[in-house]
């Protein structure tokens, strides 16, 4: 089975600060990491490969320094990595990003399955995965909690939807975005790091992508414009319950069920 895993390099700290005056994300150029959500996608891919065999390629769009995040995917076990990188892609919104990645994926070879993280810790839109599937003309499922069965024709997944947990079977090839904590991602291997050749990451520029429409790329090709970025309000809502032990346990059970913990 050939699996593609889409990843992104994000700021290294989990607390992304927004300048309250300019509304711009404060990025520390030195400190970056692989989007934590993508680790669940990569781990899922690695586990499928352990069972089914095949190859895992990772793909990212970003500036040249994103190479380090792709190298990390190789240290975790990916076989090959591709960085789609060109100034033409700068300033892309989710639509233009999906377009560029879809164009890149046409160059990275045949695939049976594409896995993405549920979202990124910097943009938090959770849209690139599904949009990418649409552009590639394949089916997709988002917020996948588990892969229950997989063979060379189809995959059965359990998804975390707003009000319910849904299990469905889909034909391959398809795209899945993997929910946080679907598994515990393995750690990068120092041994693989020592064994990895520095040219394991293939860089694809705009010139490498045949049939690319420059008008659909980067800031110019982005139908959405960011007007303002602001930190989300901290939700400190509290709910208090009173009653007998029995009533309270019923309330608690209903609540846990509603939140899908039980």
């Amino acid at each position: 089975m050939n699996i593609l895993v889409c990843v992104k390099q994000v700021p290294g700290t989990s607390q992304v600060e927004v300048d309250p005056v300019t509304g711009v994300l404060k990025r520390d150029g030195q400190n970056n990491k692989l989007n934590p959500y993508d680790l669940f996608a990569l781990e899922t891919a690695l586990r499928i490969r352990e069972e089914q065999g095949g190859e895992i390629k990772t793909v990212s769009m970003g500036p040249p320094q994103a190479t380090s995040s792709l190298l990390e995917t190789v240290y975790m076990g990916a076989d090959a990595a591709y960085l789609i990188s060109d100034r033409l892609f700068a300033g892309a919104d989710v639509h233009a990003t999906s377009y560029a990645i879809a164009s890149g994926i046409r160059r990275t070879g045949a695939f049976d399955l594409i896995l993405c993280g549920k979202q990124t810790t910097d943009g938090d839109t959770a849209q690139v995965g599904p949009e990418l599937a649409e552009m590639l003309g394949i089916e997709h499922a988002a917020n996948v909690l588990s892969i229950d069965a997989i063979d060379d024709k189809s995959v059965t997944v359990t998804m975390n939807l707003d009000n319910l947990i849904q299990t469905q079977t889909m034909l391959l090839p398809c795209l899945l975005t993997i929910e946080k904590d679907a598994c515990t991602p393995r750690l990068p291997s120092f041994k693989r790091k020592l064994e990895t050749a520095s040219d394991v990451v293939t860089v694809l520029t705009a010139a490498d992508l045949t049939g690319l429409d420059p008008a659909r790329c980067g800031l110019k090709g982005s139908p959405t414009q960011v007007e303002r970025i602001f930190p989300p309000e901290v939700n400190k809502n509290k709910e208090q319950f009173a009653g007998t032990g029995e009533q309270l346990s019923d309330t608690l059970f209903d609540l846990l069920q509603q939140k899908k913990f039980v």
């Binding site: 934590p36 515990t184 393995r186 750690l187 291997s189 120092f190 041994k191």
Partner: protein, 463 residues
């Protein structure tokens, strides 16, 4: 003979402390009758939730006049029964004294009340770009308790232990007088170090009501390597090589697969790797990326030369949490795996840790008990847990005693000592006596008599 507090005593105590914070009889929760050590239980007659040095002093002065025993208690996370009111009397709880009073950026100190929790101090320091290095696994312990046991923790390899970070203490003595020892000073050659006598005295010499602690600048980068090994022996035998390599590590932790599995079950969360029988967890900190990378590479290569099949990189917040959260939960996880347990916290010279680790399975075989262990391999301090599982009380006690006797004897042969960081309290008195000998115990008793001639402060502990 101690006086048991009567109605008159309680009435008086309620005049010096808000009556709502003076609890008696059934008002005192069961929790206050023990700490984390199993098997020793005694409720105090009066529980006082103190809020200030003045209150502690007033209570102590009165107790001294009336010959009522007094025990001080923080979070009750101790492991040797040191905070159990063996003789009843008054218990002073410091959890309400939980204010961080001052961050002195010019002297690099923080002044805290004793009830501040370690996790809160650690977070406060970090927010201000400082590090309070002592890092025991139990983050909900109070600083007062940490000082009283001279807690060590996981960064001792590089940074030392709690004692190295205490600059000054305000202490209420058994007669109710208040003394300030040390201060915001870096050096001190002014007579005997009373400050250092209080540190590690397990609440037997005075009650700490304020502490001035030393901070260090927060290292910008902290990264770990989780190094797997094919056997526990291989892992532990690699430690001396690491130490000899002069790598500047903050932590060298040793643990085995079974302990990780207990932690997984306890936390309901999977560890990133459980494919190997044993692991070392090595940490480097600093502020220069190139230096850190070099250090990690040196250590990783060294471990692999010693037979480690790999070295896993623990670099991001998420990865650190997945590994260190499990490490922090080992004690509770082992506890949850059995019906009752007792622990042995021996410390041996670093180059002897392998010998000791390899000896514990032998003890387990001899006494026929399950004895999981993990520990601070880099500083020679091992935590060995003797599990009761399904045994009846009598067999358990017999085998436990036999196991302790064997282990402390071995520690002594290896020039080690009874406790690295948990203390002596009630549980380890006999072992300390055997390890330190008559003369040293007599000196300790002499010191106790000078501070507390009537032996009203935490009686029945240490000796």
């Amino acid at each position: 003979m101690y006086k048991q507090p009567d109605a008159q005593d309680i009435a008086f105590l309620k005049t010096v402390v808000d009556p709502a914070r003076v609890l008696t009889g059934t008002e005192i929760a069961e929790d206050y009758s023990h700490d984390e050590l199993g098997g020793v239980q005694q409720s105090p007659d009066v529980l006082i939730k103190a809020l200030s040095t003045e209150e502690v002093a007033a209570v102590m002065r009165y107790a001294s006049q009336q010959n009522i025993p007094v025990v001080c208690r923080g979070s009750g996370t101790g492991l040797v029964g040191a905070a159990v009111a063996l003789k009843g009397g008054i218990m002073i709880e410091t959890l309400g004294m939980n204010k961080i009073l001052e961050l002195d950026r010019d002297n690099l100190t923080v002044t805290v009340q004793p009830g501040v929790l370690l996790m809160d101090l650690a977070a406060f320091a970090e927010e201000n770009e400082f590090l309070y290095p002592p890092d025991p696994g139990e983050k909900s312990a109070t600083i007062g308790g940490n000082i009283s046991t001279n807690a060590g923790g996981m960064r001792a390899v590089k940074y030392g232990v709690t004692r190295d970070y205490v600059r000054g203490l305000t202490v209420v003595l058994p007669d109710g007088s208040v003394e300030r020892l040390g201060g915001k000073i870096v050096k001190n050659s002014t007579g005997y170090s009373l400050l250092n006598l209080i540190i590690g005295s397990e609440g037997t010499l005075g009650i700490i009501t304020e502490a001035i602690l030393k901070l260090v600048p927060l290292p910008k980068i902290t990264e770990s390597l989780l190094v797997p090994f094919e056997t526990g022996e291989k892992a532990i035998e690699t430690v001396p090589h690491i130490i000899r390599s002069k790598a500047s590590l903050t932590a060298i932790e040793f643990f085995e697969k079974q302990t990780i599995l207990f932690a997984e079950e306890y936390l309901g969360k999977k560890f990133p790797d459980t494919h190997y029988p044993a692991y070392l967890l090595l940490t480097v900190d600093g502020s220069d990326r190139a230096v850190i990378d070099k250090e990690l590479e040196t250590v990783a290569r060294l471990c692999m030369e010693q037979g480690a099949p790999d070295a896993f990189i623990v670099d991001t917040d998420e990865r650190k949490e997945s590994v260190w959260k499990a490490r922090g939960a080992f004690l509770e996880a082992i506890k949850a795996s059995t019906t009752e347990m007792d622990e042995c916290d021996v410390v041996v010279p670093r180059d002897k840790i392998a010998e000791f680790v390899e000896y514990t399975p032998e003890v387990a075989r001899i006494v026929n008990l399950r004895i999981p262990s993990f520990g601070h391999a880099g500083d020679g301090n091992l935590h060995v847990y003797i599990c009761r599982d399904g045994l009846d009380e009598k067999t358990w006690k017999e085998r436990l005693e036999q196991a302790f006797a064997l282990m402390y004897k071995r520690a002594d042969e290896l020039s080690g000592l009874v406790s690295g960081e948990h203390g002596i309290g009630y549980a380890k008195k006999d072992y300390m006596k055997a390890a330190c000998g008559e003369k040293q115990i007599a000196l300790m008793k002499g010191i106790k008599a000078v501070f507390d001639p009537n032996n009203i402060l935490n009686p029945g502990k240490l000796f």
